[in-house]
Every structure is written in C-alpha cells, then in structure tokens.
Symmetry: none
Subunit: 549 residues, 2 copies
C-alpha cells in the first residue's frame, strides 16, 4: 500500500480526519453497480478503498445525504452501506463527528496468491478478498531488525541505551523468536522484559475488579458448608454451571442446560480434553483456519493431531477448502477470527452447517466474542448447531487469564468421555474461584465489568489506530470491530519475525503474523491494545514505526 501513489490529491483526505469531499468521492460510478445491489456495491467500494489506504483510519466519510445526492441514489442506499461497514468494523458512527474510518478487516493482497482470490470477478457481490498492489515500492522495502539496523533517532538511542543497561543482547531477542513450534516459545517471550507489552490476547488487566472479587469471595466464604471444601463434581460447581449457562444465553445466544456445561481450566484444557476424546475415536487431524493461533497449533501438535490449514477470506473460513481437506473436525474462531478479525458471514455459516450435518464436528473457540465495539453481536455457531459444535469459552479475556477458568459445551455423545477426561486431569477445577465467579456473574458485576472494559478497550483501540496511521502509514489494519488486538499487514518482503525481534530489543513486545500462518502469506504484526495505556500504545507503535523506516 502506498499512499503517495494514485491520486489521493483528488480526494480531500487528511490523516487528521478531515471530512472527505463527496463531490469526487472515490470516483464512484453508480452505473457500475449490479441491478438491485447498490448498497452492497457501495459498501464494497468503500471497503476496498479502506483496504488500499485510500481512506486511512481517521478519515470521515461523506454524510449520507451528501453522498446520496452525489450518486443519485436514495439516502437509504447509503445508510445501508454504512451500516454494513459499521458491522464489519471498517467504520464507526460518531454522531455529529460523522462516520469515521477505523480499520480494514483482513483482506489478503493479491500477490499472496490466496486460494480464494477471484480477480475481476465482477458482480460477485464482494466474494473474495479485495486487494491492490501499489507499484513502485520494491526498492523501499527491506527487512528490518537485522542487528537493530536503522537505529538513529534520539528515541532509539534512548532505547538502545536502556537495553544495554539491561544487559540484553539482540541475539537473545532473536533466539526468542526462533522456531515457532518450540513449545516454550510463549513462555520465553512472556518472560522477556519489555517496557511496552503489546502481546495479543490480554484484556485490560489493570481493570481487574479486585474489590468486587474480594467482596464476592467474602460472601462466598461466609455461605459455604464444610463439604464445599471437599472433593467436588469434576464437571464444576453447580452454581457456576448455572451461571455460565445463563451468561451464554444472554451474551452468546446459546440455550444450554447447566448439565451440559463442563467447567475447565481455560480453553487450553478444553482443547486438551477434546483432543484426548477425539483421538480415542480415531481422529488424527483437526483442520485450522490459516492464519490461526500458533498456540493452538502447538497444542494440537503436542496432542499428536495434524492441523491441515484452511484459508480465510473476508467472509471467514473457506468451507469449500475445509471440505477439500477431508478433515472431519475443524477448530474455528467464527465470531472474530484470530488473528485476522474477520467475522464469519451468513453464507459461510450456512455452508458450515451443511458441512457439519454431513458429519463434521466444529470446535468453536469463542475466545473474545464478548468484546465488540462497532457491530452487533454475532451469535455463536453453538446456538444453532448444538449437536455439531464443541463450544469453548473462558474468562481469560473477560477478567484475567490467571484465573484459568473456562467452559466447554460438547455434543451429547462426547460428554461422558469428557467428564472422565476432566476427572483424570485434575478431579475438577478449584471450587472457590468457581463460586466467586458465579457470584460475579449472577450479581451482574461481570456484565458491568464487561461494559466498563468495552469503553476502555475502545479508547485504546482508537489510540492504536491513530498511532498506526501516524507512525506506520504503510501498514494495513485489520480486525478493528471487535476483540483485543489488531493485525497489521506490511509490504511483502518485510521480515516480520526480525521486526518483532528488533521491537523486543527496543522494549516493545508484539507477535509476528507469520508465526500464526501455516502457508506463506503477507508479513505483518499481531498487536494487542487492550492491556496497554494509550501513551504506551503510542510509544510502542512509535518504536515500530522507527524500525520500519
């Protein structure tokens, strides 16, 4: 992406978010739109412009009335297009401030040769990724972070000096990003000191509701009978299973009986138990979205399961490609694909449902579904496919990973085997934290906390988008409508592992996108924003920008 080419001077776009003049807005010609598909066409054009950087984050779209007049269409057409863009996280309505571009859900650039690419496929109603190669930048591209090359600014000297004080060497950071299938890689990265930690997957940990937790624990302790301190039901305490069932009904559209809920020590354990049970029935492969979480890929590998990759495009996982793998189990992140942020759309949901009814099992990793900002909630697959989905959720992104509490709702035929597996794993989760959590859920404290987090996270996300627009103008931002992280893609040829290593050397922790990809793809970074303050976000992104320059 190159913001200096094309003719952006035609468009009154400024980085600072000035209103885009509608008169020539994107040089749109409504005559290109398919009959009856005007809103869809308009949304697609704007999406593409966002992806290409023609509408950088912070740009304001024309008022609906103005654009409708320009295009000679009804205002409803524009309103509907904006609504769709809002839903998928490209833009956000800000009242009097208008409709503002946030970021671009991941769209693979054409040069990556995505399986699903359909170029020139006019009239395809937005199927396939939108991408454009901007010419003339090969010469400017270079790998980064090689020995911390490119140091120079005063900020970087400061960083380098601090690093020297800490006695850490570049090679140490480099080693941390070695073989991504090394099982200890996340531990090593976590243990590495960093001034600004932009690792993905963490909520605002400073917001942990300590006082509410302690109050709930006091209430719980006062109400316990001695037997509650003994060995318990390996499925979890009845109180938490009830509370989780209610929470999932309210927040995820899932109608489940508490008896269907198995309390586990986080999604990692849910996956481990499922792997045991599925292997017992002869399963050898679990298809994974590509890209998808490296941690989950490591986990499956450790369980002796292969993980055939299935491409993701802007509608979500490619179900035709999933069918082509022949795998009968797939682990998916439908609500907010990790790491791209794509939301599985209605067409793909229907295709997946068909696949499942043909004998497929979906492991639905609903890892951060509660965190959404600019779009309506997306119901879980489990809500309509109870017999075909093993649903895993946790409080890691709602409260704190350190609590190690999650839940697994599996199709009935797996339940007894899963309870056995849980019993032999650890005889069941610890009771006290379960009861405290149940108390927070039932009292409404958790819901309040979630609302509070959403506000905080949204502000941090906006700070990161602004910082990226300012300091990484060449990066394309994806997945901003929900979650706790953004993914940015960089120019082809950029060595994202070297970049992440150099960033760590400069005190900033991020993850390379290539870690999470099985097939070659666009380089990039996966950057968490939820756990960092806006000033840390700006500082971290600034370091990234310096390294990329």
């Amino acid at each position: 992406m190159n913001r200096s080419n094309g003719s952006p001077s035609d468009w009154s776009i400024t980085r600072s978010g000035a209103t885009v003049a509608a008169s020539d807005f994107l040089q749109l010609n409504p005559a290109d739109a398919p009959r009856g598909g005007m809103s869809d066409w308009l949304a697609r054009q704007i999406r593409r412009a966002v992806a290409e950087g023609l509408l950088p984050p912070g740009s304001r779209l024309p008022a609906t009335r103005v654009l409708a007049d320009e295009l000679g269409v009804s205002r409803g057409v524009v309103t509907e297009a904006y609504r769709r863009l809002t839903e998928d996280g490209h833009v956000e309505g800000r009242g009097r401030a208008g409709t503002v571009v946030l970021a671009a859900p991941l769209v693979r650039p054409p040069e990556d040769g995505p399986v699903e690419r359909e170029r020139g496929g006019r009239g395809q109603a937005g199927r396939g990724p939108v991408g454009r190669r901007t010419p003339g930048h090969g010469a400017e591209e270079r790998g980064t972070g090689k020995g911390g090359s490119g140091k120079g600014g005063s900020g970087e000297r400061r960083v380098a000096a601090r690093r020297a004080e800490e006695g850490r060497s570049t090679s140490e950071e480099r080693a941390l990003f070695g073989d991504p299938l090394d099982t200890g890689i996340f531990d090593a990265l976590r243990a590495a000191p960093a001034r600004v930690d932009l690792s993905p997957g963490l909520p605002d940990l400073a917001a942990f509701p300590r006082a509410a937790w302690l109050r709930a624990e006091r209430a719980v302790l006062a109400g316990l009978v001695p037997a509650d301190f003994g060995y318990g039901d390996p499925r979890g305490t009845p109180a938490l299973r009830r509370a989780v069932a209610r929470w999932l009904a309210l927040n995820r559209g899932i109608a489940a009986d508490p008896d269907e809920v198995l309390i586990v020590a986080g999604t990692a354990q849910a996956l481990g138990l499922l792997a045991l049970v599925l292997k017992d029935e002869g399963v050898t492969r679990v298809a994974l979205e590509d890209p998808s979480s490296l941690g989950i890929r490591q986990h499956l590998r450790n369980s002796g399961l292969a993980s055939p990759p299935v491409p993701v495009d802007e509608r979500g996982v490619r179900v035709d490609a999933l069918r082509a793998t022949g795998a009968r189990v797939a682990l998916l992140t439908p609500a907010h694909q990790f790491p791209t942020g794509v939301v599985l759309d209605g067409v793909r949901r229907r295709e997946l449902a068909d696949w499942a009814r043909d004998g497929g099992l979906i492991i639905e990793d609903d890892y951060d579904a509660e965190h959404r900002y600019d779009r309506p909630p997306v119901p879980a697959l489990r809500s309509t496919l109870a017999d075909h989905v093993a649903y895993a959720g946790s409080v890691s992104k709602l409260l704190a990973p350190a609590l190690r509490v999650g839940w697994l709702l599996a199709p009935r035929r797996y339940r007894d085997a899963l309870v056995d597996a849980k019993r032999f794993a650890d005889l069941g989760n610890a009771a006290l934290p379960q009861l405290v959590l149940a108390h927070l859920m039932e009292s409404g404290e958790l819901e309040r906390h979630l609302r509070f987090l959403r506000r905080r996270h949204r502000g941090r996300r906006d700070a990161m988008i602004a910082a990226l627009a300012d300091r990484l103008p060449g990066a394309v931002v994806h997945g901003a409508a929900a979650g706790l992280h953004l993914t940015v893609t960089l120019e082809p040829g950029c060595d994202d592992v070297a970049l992440a290593a150099a960033a760590l050397e400069h005190g900033v922790k991020v993850q390379p996108l290539s870690w999470h990809a099985q097939r070659p793809g666009r380089p990039g970074l996966v950057i968490g924003y939820a756990a960092s303050t806006p000033s840390d976000i700006r500082e971290g992104v600034s370091v990234l920008g310096d390294l990329l320059r």
Copy 2:
C-alpha cells in the same frame, strides 16, 4: 450438641448482636485454666460457646479491658485470646463496633470430650500398624448388610424414615458400590446423600481458615501488578514455589530449589503428568502397594498403565516382591501407607534405595504426611533420593481438596517434559490461589493451622477409636498414629462391600477395604475421622456396629 442442656438463660446473650454483658460472660472461671495457658483456655471457652450457639454470629464480645477486669487477668491475655479467635475465623475486630462473632468453625461442645485426650497406645512410638484385638467378640461378628438387616434402634428408624422420604432404595446404594473400576464410582459415592460422611481422605473441612484466607487474599490482591493477572509461568508462581520449597524443607526434610518445584492441580494431576511423560519413555507398568488407593489404580488404568500389586507388611512395602514384578516404576506411600497406615521402616528404606539405584523410579505420594500424632516425623524418601524420586504432595489434606493445589518434584531428567505436559494441560495453575497459599505459608498461618488441625484430628481419632472399641469390638484397628483415617479389618467372610452399601443405606458413608485391594485379602472398612465431629463419629460407628451385629 444439645442446646437445651446447660442454662443459657444465665447469660445475657441475644441473637440480634447486642453486647454480651461481661459480668457473667460465659460464666468463666479462670481457676479452671491450666497454669500458663490462660489465653489458650479463654480462646477455647469462647470457641466452644460459639460452636454451641451461645454466642451466635453477630454477637459482640466484651471489650478486652472489661473482660480482663472481670477475670482478674492481664489485658494481654484477653487480647491474645481474641487474636487467636480472629485468626481462626471465629470473630472479627470491627474497630469501634468491637469484636464480633462471625461464624463457628466447628468445635463441639464439652460433652464431646477434650480435644487432647490420648487413649491407649502409650509408648508405642507408633511404628507399624496399631492393632488391637478386643477379645470375646468373635461370636457376635457376622456378615452384614444383606438387605439392610439389623435395623431396629430409634436412631436407625429415624434414618430409615429419612431415607424413605428421599426416595432412595437399597439397590441404589448397592449399585454405587458396583465395579470399583468404574471411573465414576467416587463421584457417585460423593454425590450420594449421607448424614454422616466417614469417607477417608478429608481433613476437618469446617476448620478451613476462612478469615485467614480472605485476609491473605486481600493482601495479595493489593500487591499485584496487572501482569500478574495475565498468563503466567506454567511451573507456578515464583512466590508459591519458594514457599513450597521452604515448607518441604521444614516439614518433610526435603532440600529443594524452588526451580525444582512444579505447582500442579493436586496429586491427581501430578500423577497424570507423570504418566504421560513416563509412557513417552516406554514405561507400561507402575507397581502399586497392595492394598493401595483405588483412585490411583483407576488413574493408572485410565493412563493405560498396568499396576502390578506389591504386598505390604508391618514394615511397609515388600521390596523383594517389588523387584520380582520387574516394574521399574513404583508408586508408594512411605510416610503413612494408604490404607493400612504402615510406616516404611529403616530396613525397607535401605532396600528401596538399592532398588532405585539399580534403575528404579519411585513416585512418592506423600498424601497426609503432615498429620501425625503419636510418632516423630518421618522424612520423605525424596529427602535422600532426589535423583530417584518423583515427589507429590498437596494441600488437599492440609487445607482443602477443593483448592486443587499440589506440587511435584521430579528428578532433573523429567523436568522439562513435565513442564511441557503441564503447559499443555492447562497453561499452569490459577495464580490467585497460589499467591494466597504462598502468603499463608510464609506468614506462618498454615503452620498454625496445621497445629490446630492436629489437635482437632487427634481428638476425633480418639473418639473414633473409642467408638470402635465400644461398637465394633471385633474389628482390628490399623494406622492410628498418623493421617486422617483408620482402617479396620473384620472377620474373614464378612462382605465389606455389602456392609458399606448397607451403611450408606443407613446414612453413613465409609469405603470397603476390598475396593483398595488387588489381591484377595482381609475384609474391612476404611473410615475417615478428621472431617467429622466426635458425635457424628459415634453415630456413624454405632450404625456400623448395629449392622455388624
């Protein structure tokens, strides 16, 4: 406990939390106190009054000055007594509102007999099974439980009536004791209602130090930095690993570096992780003492490991028989063999050390080593055989099984693989309870709690021995010098499974000894005493006696 006896009308106690008049406060007579033990005596009297309901929750205690005047003791004596009561959760200081009764950790009224009573067994130094054959009862013994025969006493009629109300039938209880290798058997037994639960393996759960736990949690929460709520070291928090290393040095004679400590979710998980790692090296069999814990045998079976039985005699496991099995791994309970209570003696220790040095690995299940009454502490095998012992301990018997916290110290060659296994199991234990526990350990609270438990448990053990002598005169009692349970053996021909089923039908939960035996052996019962009050113990044993008659 009987509130209608005594004369509470003498005391100015109200349920609404009015101040208790000190002038007659509990009719205390300092002359009853032992020399030099005034604070202890005072605390005990107040505890008892709380337990009896004489001081209901919400009551305020007299001001220290007032009570000290009344009793003619120094104010420090009263302050110290209140401090102890605060520590064990009976009362709470509320500033100007005074010292208020919170709740009653269980202490039975005086008619239950003094806590420190030591009957019989004097000077036996506790080695070997403590067995006592009470003479003259052979003729009265007979198989029991056939169709619940022997009902008759008014207590039993009451039980039978209650059972009928609950709609449970004899056959249901019988089914609970079906195939002991059914993996759900413990869950089913645990879930079965019983008026008196004499299951082995539980400490006094009513004594769980709720107030101290909550205080420690408050202190921990106040001191955490946000990153502590994130993903942590899968080995456990450094604070708990340090605290456990110190605890083991002080209590179990083990010199270990905190880095050697792996925090796990109880001994069940320790065993599961070890099984994974050992199977990876080709281990197919883990020798077990016979009898030994059925739960552990189930666990090994679930892991696909055979468990060749090794007989136990009064010196402990038979090492010659262990050698004869050809197994290179053995799971042992040296400090207090389960269920027999035998302590591994010096000769056998030396033989075991030779076996280990010849290539054997010992899994040392140190499940209740801290609970000893009439004997000196026995150092762990791990203390002298660090390279040959995988040592597993937990807080299940120190505080509560519901905490699901334990530790595993393995020989160096297994450590990396075990950390990997723990990471994939659940990414590590939850952080908060680890830190609270570390706080309790480092502050000395856990040590105090253990001393408190020892006194309580000793009293309950004595109550059980007395009740057994009275009501099961034909039974031989084993393993009384330590632990939380007794094993009684019965006359050959007695069907202990039927007896346990009949007992459950009559509202009393015990485990048949034959569950825990692989080879045919003497029938018997494994009976926990630590978690039950002396009066419940008497009631439960009385039911057993009626069934055996």
